[in-house]
């Protein structure tokens, strides 16, 4: 249980760090990085909740995190395109 607990703590800190960056940073790219790190924190919490402690791991949260990673990259791509469009129209 120690491994999962450690990474869960890391996940919580990552989520909170990403959220703070989203609020505090001024540039678009830094906020998008914060969003991605928030997502990684959430995925960490999901996967550590699925940790089997030496036995088989619960595969449903793994599948959810896989989906989440793909959706996160497409959201990042769209956010970056939006920030490019915004720069153009300034």
């Amino acid at each position: 249980m120690m491994v999962a607990d450690l990474y869960a703590l890391v996940g919580v800190v990552l989520f909170v760090m990403g959220l703070s960056a989203l609020i505090l940073r001024s540039r678009d790219l830094q906020r998008i990085l914060g969003l991605n790190i928030m997502g990684t924190g959430v995925f960490m919490l999901l996967v550590t909740s699925a940790h089997g402690d030496g036995q088989a791991a619960d595969p449903v949260p793994h599948a959810m995190v896989l989906t989440g990673i793909v959706v996160a990259v497409s959201a990042t791509a769209f956010a970056l395109a939006l920030s490019l469009a915004r720069e153009r129209h300034k």
Binding site: V16, S20, I23, P59, A63, A77, F78, R88
Partner: protein, 222 residues
């Protein structure tokens, strides 16, 4: 007044962050009391799913609709990026260099083979459509950076939509075979999953590469 808030904001956010973190950690400890609930159910149903990798079984069989919607979300993102109509000034091609061309010659075919392997082995070992699609997208982008990949609009549109098309058609065809939407007949489930995964790999690679390029491709659309 606003200036005072602006100066205190990092401290406020920091305090709020610590509070939120403690809250989430407490909630996580609570959920640990009944964790791993689905493990046994999935492992018991695994032999009927057509594959032996439990994550692939969950993605393509037990929660197949989620994956269908995910492919649709990917396509939607690409359409949204195209709709932004970014007029990007220059191409992504790098200046020609011997290091890059030898890297390309070495890793281009290797990436295609690795993608095919990941797709095939996803049935029994870690792997699957998303991983294979991402590796394939990496290969396509390497070619694009070399200036040797410039497909026309028709190819890109077909490549992007084939995954969702095959997935949807399979889902709709299933009631004729077994009576349930996206319910594979247990004998041939592995074949159906491989078919869907192959089309999905092509689409995921095309969509990820097209998201990088961000410009709508030129040429005739049909």
């Amino acid at each position: 007044m606003p200036k005072l808030i602006k100066r205190c904001l990092p401290v406020l956010v920091g305090a709020g962050a610590v509070a939120l973190g403690a809250l989430i950690a407490a909630a996580w400890v609570r959920t640990q009391e009944n964790g791993g609930a689905m493990t046994r159910a999935v492992l018991e149903a695994l032999p009927d799913s057509g594959v032996s990798n439990p994550v692939t079984a969950v993605l393509l069989n037990f929660r197949g609709f989620d994956t269908l919607l995910e492919v649709a979300v990917l396509m939607l993102t690409l359409i949204a990026v195209w709709a932004l109509d970014l007029r990007l000034p220059r191409t992504e091609a790098l200046p020609p260099s011997p290091v890059f061309s030898s890297l390309l010659r070495f890793s281009g075919p290797l990436l295609v083979v690795i993608a095919g392997y990941l797709l095939w082995v996803g049935a029994s070992e870690p792997g699957g459509a998303f991983q294979a699609g991402a590796v394939l997208a990496g290969g396509c982008l390497l070619l694009r950076l070399a200036g040797r990949w410039n497909p026309g609009a028709r190819f890109v549109r077909w490549a992007v939509s084939v995954g969702l098309l095959v997935f949807l058609l399979t889902a709709i065809a299933m009631p004729g075979l077994t009576g349930g939407l996206l319910q594979y007949p247990p004998a041939s489930a592995g074949m159906w999953i491989l078919l869907i995964e192959t089309a999905a790999t092509v689409s995921i690679a095309a969509i990820l590469a097209a998201l990088f390029v961000a410009r709508e491709p030129e040429g005739p659309r049909r």
